[in-house]
C-alpha cells in the first residue's frame, strides 16, 4: 500500500496549480461552487488542450498522453479545488472520448477524438427521457433505419449543456420488437441538425443548466451509429462506470467548505470566535473526515482504473457516498451561518456571497444525476455483494 504520490505526480500537481493561479489572476474565472461545470469557456478549454490536459489518459495513437487515471485525478482535484471552467470539454474528455475509443470505428475515432482533445467540439449526453429515468432501458426515442440514414423521433430530458454543445451522445431505440435492452443503439447527433429543438429548463437554483431536447424527423447519417446496432445498452453500461468515477462527485461545492472554515475562524459570535463553539468544531471536523474518506474512495476508483479494471461496485459506492457528503456540507453550512444562510448570491448581507443556500439548492441534483442514490445502492448490493435480484416487470 502507498497513499503518497510520485515525484512526477507532485510536479504535475504543482504545474496545474501554477497554471490555475495564473489564470485566476488574469480573471478567467472565480472560485465558486459549481463553477467547474457552469462556467463554460471554450477559450479556457483550448488553454488546457495546449497543456495536454484533455484526453490525458488516452493512448498516444488518439492524441492522448498515456497518463494514468491517478494523474487525471490529480488534475481534476486541482481543477475542482479552483472550480476552473472546464464545462466545455468535460463530458467529451471524461466519457464520450473513452466510449468512442472502446466502441467507435476508425472513421469515428479519426473524426471526433482529435476535435475533443483540441477543444473544438463540446458534447452533451442524451440518456433520460420523460418515462425513462432510473428505468433507462425504457427509452422510447426511436431511430428508424432507412436506406441512407436513421430518422429519429422522440425526446430527451435533463440534458445538461445541450444549449451550448455541438453534439449529443445519445441512446435511442432501433428495434421495437426485441426485448427492451436488446433494441437500443448509441448515436452521435449534430445538435444543429434540422428537426432538433432544445428547450431550456430552469433548475431550482434559478439556472438554465439542463434542457429538453426534441427530435422531429431528424435525419442522422448512418456513420453516426456508434458500435453495434441494438447493442447500445450493453455498451452504455460499460461507459457509465467512467461517469460515476470522479472527484467531481465529491468536490462540486468544495469552495463552500474552504470559505466556511475561514469564516468560522475569522468571525465572532457571542464574544468569541465562531470556531470555538463545540458544535461548530464537531460539525466541521466531521465534514472534514467525511471529505477525506470520499477522497480516498475517489482515488481508489482512479487506482482501480489504472490497474486496468472497470470500477463497477467501487464507482457506484463512491458516487453514492460522495454526493451525500456534498449534501450534508451544504446543509451544515447554512445552519452554521444561521439566518445569513438564507441569503442568496448577490444579496446584501449574504455571508460567503450566498454560496451556502445556493449550494443547498444545487445539492438536490447531486444524489439524482448519473444514477440516483438508490439505484447506485442496488448496484452495490447486487453486482458488488452478490445479493439476489428481485424480478421486475419489464
Amino acid at each position: 500500500m502507498d497513499f503518497g504520490f510520485t515525484e512526477e505526480q507532485d510536479k504535475l500537481r504543482q504545474k496545474v496549480r501554477d497554471f490555475l493561479e495564473e489564470r485566476l489572476k488574469i480573471g478567467d474565472f472565480q472560485v465558486t461552487s459549481n463553477g467547474w461545470i457552469e462556467s463554460y469557456s471554450q477559450e479556457f478549454s483550448k488553454e488546457m488542450s495546449n497543456k495536454g490536459w484533455i484526453g490525458m489518459t488516452w493512448p498516444g495513437e488518439y492524441g492522448g498522453k498515456g497518463h494514468t487515471y491517478i494523474d487525471r485525478a490529480i488534475l481534476m482535484e486541482e481543477m475542482l479545488t479552483y472550480q476552473a471552467p472546464i464545462g466545455f470539454h468535460f463530458l467529451g474528455d471524461r466519457q464520450v472520448g473513452p466510449a468512442i475509443m472502446h466502441f467507435g470505428n476508425e472513421e469515428q475515432k479519426k473524426e471526433y477524438l482529435p476535435k475533443i482533445i483540441n477543444a473544438d467540439i463540446a458534447f452533451a449526453i442524451g440518456l433520460s427521457e420523460p418515462n425513462a429515468g432510473s428505468d433507462l432501458v425504457s427509452v422510447k426515442t426511436f431511430a428508424k433505419e432507412e436506406e441512407d440514414c436513421f430518422v429519429m423521433n422522440g425526446q430527451k430530458v435533463w440534458t445538461t449543456g445541450a444549449h451550448r454543445a455541438d453534439y449529443i451522445w445519445m441512446i435511442a431505440r432501433t428495434d421495437l420488437e426485441a426485448p427492451k435492452h436488446k433494441g437500443i443503439s448509441e448515436f452521435i447527433v449534430d445538435l444543429k441538425s434540422p428537426g432538433v429543438t432544445v428547450r431550456p429548463i430552469i433548475n431550482i437554483a434559478g439556472v438554465h443548466s439542463f434542457n429538453e431536447v426534441f427530435f422531429d424527423d431528424v435525419k442522422i447519417p448512418k456513420e453516426n451509429l456508434v458500435g453495434v446496432k441494438n447493442r447500445g445498452f450493453y455498451q452504455l453500461m460499460a461507459q457509465v462506470d467512467y461517469e460515476r468515477a470522479g472527484l467531481e462527485r465529491l468536490m462540486q461545492n468544495y469552495p463552500l467548505f474552504v470559505y466556511l472554515l475561514d469564516y468560522v475562524k475569522k468571525e465572532e459570535r457571542d464574544g468569541q470566535s465562531i470556531c470555538k463553539n463545540p458544535h461548530v468544531r464537531n460539525t466541521l471536523a466531521e465534514l472534514e473526515i467525511e471529505y477525506q474518506v470520499g477522497r480516498l474512495f475517489c482515488y481508489q476508483v482512479a487506482w482501480t482504473l489504472t490497474q486496468g479494471h472497470i470500477p463497477n461496485r467501487e464507482a457506484a459506492l463512491c458516487k453514492a457516498y460522495c454526493t451525500q457528503y456534498e449534501q450534508r456540507l451544504s446543509d451544515a453550512a447554512t445552519r452554521i451561518l444561521g439566518l445569513g444562510g438564507r441569503l442568496m448570491p448577490g444579496s446584501k448581507w449574504a455571508p460567503l456571497n450566498g454560496e451556502a443556500p445556493d449550494s443547498y439548492l444545487w445539492a438536490v441534483s447531486y444524489t439524482i444525476q448519473g444514477g440516483s442514490l438508490e439505484v447506485l445502492k442496488n448496484i452495490v448490493a447486487t453486482r458488488g455483494l452478490g445479493l439476489p435480484v428481485a424480478k421486475m416487470k419489464s
Binding site: M1, D2, L284, N378, G384, L385, P388
Partner: protein
C-alpha cells in the same frame, strides 16, 4: 498510490485467516470469554511459532522486522475472528512501550521473551478519572531508599491477571502536566498489588489494579526518570491505529455475516436480500467497511513511513468508532431476533464495536483533535 497489499502481506493475511478460521471459530471465542484465564495457552504457543509476537520487532531481539503496515494486516484478521488473547496487551501495549522507551538492557532482557511468547506484558495507564491525557495520571511513585513506592488505582488493565510484568504509569514529579511521569516495569507478583476483574461489555479480560505501597527498584524505571509521557505519546498513535485495524476486520466480518444471512433467510417466499431495504442496508455497510479500511491503512502507512499523522490517526479512530457500530447495528436489524441471541455469532461484533468505540477515545474525542489540526 497503491491500494493493494504486497505479496508478503497477502501471504500473511491468508496465513492468519486460515489459522484463525481453524483455531479460533466463534464457538472458541465464546468459550474463551467465559474462561477465567481468557486465552488458550496452546493456541498462544502456536501464534508465537508463527512469529506473530515478533512481527514488528527488530531482528536482534528475535523479531521479523516487519512494518507497522504488516501488523495492521495481521490485526485486521484478528479483529475479523474476534480473537480473544493477550496479543494486544502484551505485544502492542507492553511490547511497543518497551521498544520505544526501554534502555538496551531492558530490551535485551524482555523483548526476546515477549517475542517468543514466554512472558506476558501489559500496560496500566488509565485511572478512575478515565482520561487519556497526562493529567489523568494521579498514581504516585515516591522515592524511597534504593527505589520507589507506588500508590494508586489503575483501571481497564487488560490481562493483568496473567501478565508477568506490568508497565505502570505513575507520577514521580509535581503537578499534573506531562512532565514528571515515569513508566515502571513491575513484576506482577510484587506485594501490594491486587487484581479485581471488571465485567466488560464484550467479555474482554480487564482488571482494576490497586497499588498499595508497592516497592520497586530503581532498575525498574522504563527508560528515563520523569520522561515517561513522551514514550506514551510515541506509542499511542500506534495503539490507536492497531485498534482501528481490529475494527476494520470486525466490521468486515459483521458485513459478511449479514450478507450470507440476507441470501439465505427467506420471508414472503423469497430471500430477504432481494428486498431493497435490506440491499440498501448492505450497501451502506460495505461503504462503511471500505472507508474503515482505507482510512485506517492510510494512517498505518504514514506511521510506517514515519510521517507526522496526528490528524490521520484521529480521523481513523473517529471514523472506525462510528462506522463499526453502524455496521453491526444494521447487521442486527437484518437478522431480526436471532441476532439478539448468544447462540448466534453477530453479538460478538456488536459488543466489540461498542467496546472498541469507547477505548482510546470515541469519535467526539477524536473529532476535537481533527478540529485542532484544522486550525480551529
Amino acid at each position: 498510490m497503491d491500494f493493494s497489499l504486497s505479496e508478503e502481506q497477502e501471504m500473511l493475511k491468508k496465513t492468519a485467516h486460515d489459522f484463525l478460521t481453524k483455531e479460533c471459530p466463534p464457538s472458541f471465542v465464546k468459550e474463551t470469554i467465559k474462561d477465567e484465564r481468557g486465552y488458550s495457552i496452546d493456541m498462544w504457543k502456536k501464534m508465537a511459532d508463527l512469529g506473530w509476537m515478533g512481527l514488528i520487532f527488530p531482528e536482534p531481539y528475535g523479531g521479523m522486522e516487519g512494518s507497522f503496515l504488516d501488523i495492521t494486516v495481521l490485526l485486521e484478521e484478528m479483529g475479523k475472528a474476534s480473537l480473544i488473547s493477550p496479543f494486544f496487551s502484551s505485544v502492542i501495549l507492553g511490547g511497543l512501550a518497551l521498544l520505544e522507551g526501554g534502555n538496551e538492557k531492558q530490551k535485551d532482557t524482555f523483548l526476546p521473551k515477549v517475542i517468543q511468547g514466554d512472558v506476558l506484558f501489559t500496560l496500566a495507564i488509565t485511572e478512575p478519572n478515565g482520561k487519556y491525557s497526562s493529567d489523568g495520571i494521579e498514581s504516585t511513585a515516591a522515592k524511597s531508599g534504593e527505589g520507589y513506592i507506588i500508590n494508586g488505582t489503575k483501571l481497564f488493565v487488560p490481562y493483568a491477571h496473567v501478565a508477568d510484568h506490568i508497565v505502570i504509569v505513575a507520577r514521580t514529579g509535581n503537578g499534573l502536566g506531562p512532565d514528571g511521569i515515569t513508566l515502571f516495569i513491575v513484576d506482577s507478583k510484587t506485594p501490594g498489588i491486587t487484581y479485581t476483574p471488571l465485567i466488560t461489555i464484550a467479555g474482554e479480560k480487564e482488571f482494576e489494579v490497586t497499588l498499595d505501597q508497592v516497592e520497586v527498584s530503581y532498575e525498574s524505571v522504563l527508560g528515563d526518570l520523569n520522561r515517561g509521557w513522551p514514550i506514551i505519546e510515541k506509542v499511542w498513535p500506534k495503539v490507536i491505529v492497531a485498534k482501528c485495524a481490529e475494527m476494520v476486520g470486525g466490521a468486515q466480518q459483521a458485513l459478511e455475516i449479514a450478507i450470507n444471512y440476507a441470501k439465505e433467510r427467506e420471508q414472503f417466499g423469497r430471500p430477504i436480500g432481494t428486498l431493497q431495504a435490506v440491499q440498501h442496508f448492505c450497501s451502506d455497510m460495505v461503504t462503511d467497511v471500505d472507508a474503515c479500511r482505507y482510512i485506517t491503512y492510510q494512517a498505518a502507512w504514514m506511521l510506517s513511513c514515519g510521517y507526522p499523522c496526528a490528524k490521520e490517526v484521529a480521523m481513523a479512530k473517529a471514523w472506525c468508532s462510528d462506522a463499526f457500530k453502524r455496521v453491526t447495528a444494521k447487521g442486527q436489524q437484518i437478522h431480526g431476533a436471532i441476532g439478539f441471541t448468544e447462540e448466534h455469532d453477530l453479538h460478538l461484533y456488536y459488543k466489540n464495536a461498542k467496546s472498541w468505540e469507547l477505548l482510546y477515545g470515541d469519535s467526539t474525542f477524536h473529532r476535537e483533535i481533527v478540529a485542532q489540526q484544522m486550525g480551529m
